[in-house]
């Protein structure tokens, strides 16, 4: 994919970044919804574990999952190619630079992106791969059927201060990333319209605050609340 990506038209690459990015935002919202169920203690994390089980076994979800990984990889590769070309487009830098711009965080997309990627690797090895490929996740039985107790794993992790801090930092970075990304995606697809763009920018701002807030509120509640002792 690498070499041919270099040869895609610049706007094609932008549009790919935009479409794939928006899909990933949608996934984030679904994931966030699922995460909130971990706060429901009733039935010993039953709802969360069953939801996680559904996500891990349902055929349609599995197909979407393949697409999701594919999209994530596309987003990363195209993002890196764009960045390499952009660095290459100015071999000699300015000595003195005063910058103005409309979107501050657009300068740091590669940096926030790279750090989020590191978080994702840790995240996958903590939860996803563990449940998929190892026996390290404890089991729990509901109605005579065994489930991975990912809820327990989550609660344990969120009782660890260092983990919680790292988690929060990752989502602040994600917020920065989204802050530029959302409105930028619409601009890339040519949907910058005088009537709707101000609204889209506001939605982008709200999303870039609410998604990280939603994700980080969960570990904070678990960490500070006695109700979630494990």
């Amino acid at each position: 994919m690498g070499n041919s990506t270099f040869h895609l038209a610049s706007i094609t690459k932008k549009v790919i970044m935009a479409l794939v990015g928006l899909f990933l935002v949608m996934f984030l919202l679904v994931h966030l919804g699922l995460n909130f169920t971990v706060l429901i203690l009733e039935g010993d994390r039953e709802i969360f574990n069953k939801a996680a089980h559904f996500m891990g076994t349902n055929l349609i979800v599995k197909i979407v999952e393949v697409g999701l990984f594919g999209f994530l990889i596309v987003h990363i590769i195209v993002g890196i190619v764009l960045q390499l070309q952009n660095w290459g487009a100015r071999p000699k830098r300015y000595k003195k630079r005063a910058t103005t711009q409309l979107s501050f965080f657009s300068r740091y997309m590669i940096h926030t992106g790279a750090l989020i990627f590191i978080f994702l690797i840790i995240h996958f090895s903590d939860f996803y791969f563990k449940a998929k490929f190892t026996d390290l996740v404890p089991l729990i039985t509901y109605d005579g059927k065994e489930y991975h107790d990912l809820g327990l794993l989550t609660l344990q992790k969120f009782k660890m201060g260092g983990f919680v801090i790292g988690y929060i930092i990752a989502f602040i970075l994600l917020g920065f990333h989204l802050n530029h990304a959302f409105q930028s995606a619409f601009q890339s697809m040519g949907w910058n319209h005088s009537r709707y763009m101000p609204f889209i920018k506001k939605v982008g701002l709200v999303i870039s605050i609410l998604i990280p807030l939603g994700f980080t509120i969960i570990p904070l509640v678990i960490y500070f609340s006695e109700a979630y002792s494990v």
């Binding site: 038209a9 610049s10 549009v15 952009n86 000595k95 003195k96 657009s106 763009m197």
Partner: protein
């Protein structure tokens, strides 16, 4: 006022180039920035040194040939202003002013502060034109054009091709320039004949000559002396995407 200038000097395209410091006294506030450089050059010539080469022609903000990176700003610190329109009132006694050429792989330095912007012409040749019958100029009012479209096309057509958008962009992207040139035609009936191919061809040329990719940062918009906007880039993207989607399979 007395100022210190730090200017990029480069003998020709092949030499390495370096910054040289010049002290310049008795600069008048009334001078334009380029007159200040003329003044510097006169003193250099009288000392037998080679004058600083810089591009200029109209000196009234319409030709697009001037363009200097002044104290970190494309076209200097003033807004909606070309380098030639910049006045020394923007500076004060004792200031140090750093002057650099536009920096971009696609704009190689020819000498000192002059860069080669002929790639812009190549992009225009790729699609920045309309087809018209030769002969006498057609009656201007024979094709009705809505006032809004005419105005919007004019807003795009004010681009003078100075290249400040490229210079200011952290990616050296030429999207604002190309989008201005595409928008001005896309909005008018005269531009429809080539509309399908224009965006695709001009963007292909833009990519080929080594400009970076747009990250919707919007530095270009803040530095463009003619007030071109990111909405023009969105318009170009729309043109490009539609052209890609409707294009027939090439044979």
């Amino acid at each position: 006022m007395n100022i210190t200038l730090e200017i990029w000097r480069q003998k020709d395209a092949k030499s390495k180039g370096k910054f040289v410091i010049y002290k310049l006294n008795d600069v008048s506030e009334e001078m334009s920035f380029l007159e200040m450089l003329d003044f510097l050059n006169n003193t250099l010539i009288s000392k037998g040194e080679s004058p600083v080469a810089f591009d200029h022609d109209c000196r009234e903000g319409i030709c697009g040939s001037c363009g200097l990176y002044i104290n970190g700003w494309a076209h200097g610190p003033a807004h909606l202003t070309t380098t030639c329109e910049l006045r020394m009132t923007k500076f004060k006694d004792g200031d140090k002013i750093t002057i650099e050429p536009w920096r971009s792989k696609a704009f190689p330095v020819i000498k000192d502060l002059i860069v080669d912007r002929s790639v812009f012409d190549k992009i225009m040749q790729a699609g920045g034109f309309i087809s018209a019958n030769s002969g006498a100029a057609p009656e201007a009012n024979s094709i009705p054009i809505p006032k809004d479209n005419a105005d919007a096309a004019f807003d795009a057509a004010v681009c003078i091709g100075c290249g400040a958008c490229v210079a200011a962009c952290k990616n050296s992207s030429a999207m604002l320039f190309v989008s201005a040139k595409i928008s001005q035609f896309a909005l008018l009936p005269q531009g429809k004949t080539e509309a399908k191919e224009r965006a695709r061809k001009m963007v292909a040329k833009m990519d080929e000559v080594g400009f970076g990719n747009c990250t919707n940062t919007g530095s270009c918009e803040t530095r463009c002396p003619k007030g071109l906007k990111l909405t023009h880039i969105a318009k170009m993207n729309r043109e490009f995407i539609t052209a890609k989607i409707v294009a027939e399979k090439s044979t």
